[in-house]
């Protein structure tokens, strides 16, 4: 409907000279749809700008954190290497102590995955007659042992829940080295 409308003559009192409007009247005024969308996008754009800046800064912070940790890798890896060598040597020594006393097995090598092992056949089959002997690994590269044998009654084995008084009635577990802890001594950290 156009804004100009003609109704014609109306019966009105003298105090009311204007035409009485009774028809539907929606003037098309104000911003157009494109302008409204543009304004909304502009307001959101301001927000998006700050979001982008924040994301960039968070990326830089993550970069800083990552490079901080990367810088420390050689130090920590050297320490772990020394610890690993110590524990492997100790395990090999205890294995030698155990095997020296036995008369059953004559040729063996402590914690060595490249010497032939009696009982392993070709393609990894288990040979009960123990006639075949093949090494576990054929490669020249270093292979870290997956399993290590620790004798069950050796003093190096600590029950995983050493703080338990019994299996049925448990004592209060130690919490950050409480001063009032009267139970067993912590075998790992103490002494």
């Amino acid at each position: 409907m156009s804004s100009a409308y003609s109704i014609g003559a109306q019966d009105r009192p003298p105090a009311m000279p204007e035409t009485i409007k009774f028809t539907r009247y929606f003037p098309r005024r104000g911003p157009s749809g494109a302008v409204v969308f543009a304004g909304a996008m502009a307001i959101m754009g301001v927000g998006w700008y700050y979001v982008a800046q924040n994301n960039a800064e968070r990326r830089e912070l993550r970069r800083e954190k990552a490079w901080n940790r990367i810088s420390l890798v050689p130090l920590l890896q050297a320490e772990t290497d020394r610890d690993l060598v110590r524990r492997l040597h100790s395990n090999a020594a205890s294995e030698s102590k155990i095997m020296d006393g036995s008369n059953d097995v004559k040729e063996w090598s402590a914690v060595d995955l490249k010497t032939p092992v009696k009982g392993i056949g070709r393609y990894g089959v288990f040979d009960e007659t123990r006639q075949q002997a093949t090494p576990v690994y054929y490669t020249e590269r270093y292979v870290q042992p997956t399993y290590l044998f620790v004798a069950p009654d050796s003093e190096q084995v600590i029950p995983a829940q050493w703080w338990r008084g019994s299996k049925f009635f448990t004592l209060n577990p130690p919490y950050h080295n409480r001063a009032d802890w009267k139970g067993k001594k912590d075998p790992i950290n103490d002494e």
Partner: protein, 151 residues
């Protein structure tokens, strides 16, 4: 990057207290906890760069821990040297920085004032700067930004 996988203990824990064999030279260990280590990460990288690079090249060539013990000892000795120098020169600022880190969940972006003082002291006394590799060109590094969004 590390070659060490944590062991899975089925029945009990294995704690081995035998020391290193005598054939291997001894070196005293770096006893730092996590917060001081975090605050000197970049300074350690700048100060001990040749030793760290030697060690990582050796590690790349082999997984055997016994082959890289010598380079590892050099890295540890360099780190101990740096720590002694920091304790002699910048002890107060370093302490403030890592104590702040301890309180702020080890977030570096929450301790920038202490970090600035620490870095200034380290640069003045020891000549080490903190650089973050791979920062895009033309951008100020995030630890030097004046008005960061995240603080």
């Amino acid at each position: 990057m590390t070659t060490h996988r944590e062991g899975i203990f089925v029945d009990g824990l294995w704690v081995d207290k035998t020391p290193l064999p005598d054939s291997i030279p001894k070196v005293s260990e770096v006893g730092l906890t996590s917060a001081p280590l975090e605050s000197i990460g970049f300074h350690f990288a700048a100060y001990c760069k040749p030793f760290s690079e030697d060690f990582m090249l050796c590690k790349n060539s082999t997984q055997d821990p016994e082959k890289c013990l010598k380079e590892g000892r050099r890295v540890t000795r360099c780190a101990l040297d740096l720590i002694n120098k920091l304790k002699a020169n910048c002890d107060e600022e370093w302490k403030k920085h890592w104590e702040c880190l301890d309180k702020k969940n080890h977030h570096l972006w929450q301790c920038r004032t202490q970090e600035r003082e620490f870095n200034d002291c380290v640069f003045k006394k020891l000549g080490i700067t903190k650089t973050i590799p791979d920062t895009p060109e033309g951008q100020t590094p995030v630890h030097l930004k004046e008005n960061p969004f995240i603080k």
